[in-house]
Symmetry: C2
Subunit: 492 residues, 2 copies
Amino acid sequence: MSGKKQITKRSENYSDWYLDIVHVADLADYSDVRGCMVIRPYGYAIWEKFQEILNKKIKETGHKNAYFPLFIPKSYLSKEAEHIEGFAKECAVVTHHRLKATENGVEVDPDAKLPEELIVRPTSETIIYASFAKWINSWRDLPLLINQWANVVRWEMRTRPFLRTTEFLWQEGHTAHMTSEEAEEEAKKMINVYADFCRDYLASPVITGQKSESEKFAGAMHTYTIEGLMQDGKALQSGTSHHLGQNFAKGFDVKFSNKEGQLEYVWQTSWGVSTRLMGQLIMTHSDDNGLVLPPNIAPIKVVILPIWKDEESKNKVMDFANELFDNLGDLIGDIELDKRDYLSFGEKSFEWEKKGVPIRVEIGPRDLENNSVVLVRRDKLEKVTVNINEVKVEIPKLLVEIQRNLLEKATEFVKNNSHVIDDYDQFKRQLDKEIPGFIYSFWCGSKDCEEKIKVETKATTRCIPFDQKEESGNCILCGEKSNKRIIFAKAY
Amino acid sequence: MSGKKQITKRSENYSDWYLDIVHVADLADYSDVRGCMVIRPYGYAIWEKFQEILNKKIKETGHKNAYFPLFIPKSYLSKEAEHIEGFAKECAVVTHHRLKATENGVEVDPDAKLPEELIVRPTSETIIYASFAKWINSWRDLPLLINQWANVVRWEMRTRPFLRTTEFLWQEGHTAHMTSEEAEEEAKKMINVYADFCRDYLASPVITGQKSESEKFAGAMHTYTIEGLMQDGKALQSGTSHHLGQNFAKGFDVKFSNKEGQLEYVWQTSWGVSTRLMGQLIMTHSDDNGLVLPPNIAPIKVVILPIWKDEESKNKVMDFANELFDNLGDLIGDIELDKRDYLSFGEKSFEWEKKGVPIRVEIGPRDLENNSVVLVRRDKLEKVTVNINEVKVEIPKLLVEIQRNLLEKATEFVKNNSHVIDDYDQFKRQLDKEIPGFIYSFWCGSKDCEEKIKVETKATTRCIPFDQKEESGNCILCGEKSNKRIIFAKAY
């Protein structure tokens, strides 16, 4: 990625465009470790915003943070049958605990082989529920509502920054309940927390719904998901919430004595969102000029760009810029004053545009003479001239307007690219289009139809949306009766 | 640790006492993974306080957070000669990337051997400076001030919760500068940030100073440290800051073009504190009744314990308790109202005492009749009766007083157990005492003397304190001239 600063046009090569945005906005770098990325300070500042907001929501819904080991004993993975099928195939395995120096550097010390290999956690159900078994005795210990912020590792063959990386950062919630109904309520509550977060902060409308049997989490009873539609018309699953039933409780012997004093297995949920959300954010709003950030998630909401020609004009402009910086900083926080004098105004302006800062405030000597400043809004690349007495009022208003506009635009995009289709030929034609989008079709529920459609069209089932009207029809492939539409899409 | 709820007395067995505190205060559990602990919600809530405060201080001093890969290619470790000596011996090594299912569960797939083994980071100098080499071109890119919050792994033979665990959580700062002087200033600034944090939040006075050559960080030019004195008279190193010189810059080719356009290697620092600070917090203040938390770091500063006999008195007491909870919550935050009715008042009171909550507010029907409530301060285990009209004023005042008292008591302890000794027999006698403490003695600076003293007394050099008067004397062992005292102590 080094050196290259041009951005490929979306229309030319969407995939290259995405990588260019990640690069030019200083979000992430590749590392020398296969599939692992370095999250750069600007990218990490955005992730910290995600964390701050989600952490607050997770605590407000009654959960407490804790921390569990990075390593999972190999034998743990065998305790839930489906789980190991889903996760054993792509793990980093620690086999030794020592290196030794040799003439040519270092090598693994064969004498330091571990008696039982350790797996770097791909997800933490197993290690966390081993603790739950110790912590839970009585119904009074329930519900147990735990969350962990952590790094996890899945050995991926094809990786892309944020969207799919070998190591990624996430939060994983893990809860235990007395009844299936409570677990169900929890699983739904948390998928809605994610959906609200996407809408209110990322300005990214997502569809919430239930995964098919073959797309659900390995070990879950059922899985809820949020699905976003990216600008190339492909779906992105960016958060899931699982009702685990008693599958893990039985594997890890997580029991409680109920009010009658009898032992029962707990009912569990787990749910998570990851740095993949960064990919969703990038692909929902960004354009051929770079990243576009909604104000509610931007680590820098406003950047002030002073312009000057000589020392005298510099002093005047800087006085005004400093004062605005102080006043506005108190009001909205997350504001930057770019004082760098070794870059031209154009270079600086271009840099902040690529980084997606919602508003640039341009202040030059002529503006001050006219008692005005120029606001450039990133979402529409439009300039607005504002009286200097109104700037402190206008900027917060414009931030709200940008947030609103981005959500509206993204919502419009999803609407325009959602298709209700009941004919398989039309279904296939839609999937061949440049922007395939979401396709709402009836499906009989069989794995066979799902698999055949996938092979023939590369479209997978994304979810049975919660929000659908009552109707019935025929499976898009086999024609069997069905009373639910499911969303098909090409997906990340 | 399960089940046991009694606390061993410090005087009986200090080490067992420590483990008991960790257990009864619900701070951490052992896991099935050798040397790895589970940080329980209450323990993690304290760690989150550490993070929140330190993160703010790290940002205020100009650093930005980022995130680098968990895995380090084996070859990276060979690039700085001393570094590999120090860290290669105790690493978790990832050799394979897949498991396969067998009849007996799962085993490592021999076909999935990595071409180059990956080390789970024991510290991140190498992987971070590989990025620095890409990010730094010109003197304008300097100083580069980066921090990372992460988990790290060191394969330890003997572990103890928080004090020494195979996996632990920490922050690691990494900076690059144009000159040695700037790097020196940075290294000192950050050790002082740590010392201030310990004093102002943990109420734990630490000595700041410089490590000897043999005790410095593997790869550093020199290392600064904070050293605390625990209640058993042993020293705990709980934070370090390293001036790395150009050692790593040369290994990873981190160069910048200076103002004259010539290429130079950068000067670097790194610095970190970890969950070990939790051990320091525990061992500085806790007593035979459990954990004692300074208000400035307590996740729960005040707990309200309502007492009632019948429904009528319950209503009155709960009305008052709820109102106090709301008012006080707005004022000081971090407050808890214990409404549990299935535990006796004694059980609840005992639980909060063990968890070290600074103030318990006891409210019963008789108290309300007398227009008073009882405040129990955890540091002195004293009860204070306060008029109900004054409680909102008295509680914040008492929190300040508890914080002050804990710092004073800890400072007094360090003072009383710091000994200036110039005679080796007296030196040895002091180290044989029950509370050996800090010993300030002249030392010639030779590794030989340091090593001999260690073998003979088990005391190691802790640091050459920054704060010492100008004087000269003779090495405590060999008698050679010296003009600096160094602190010797038995250490964790």
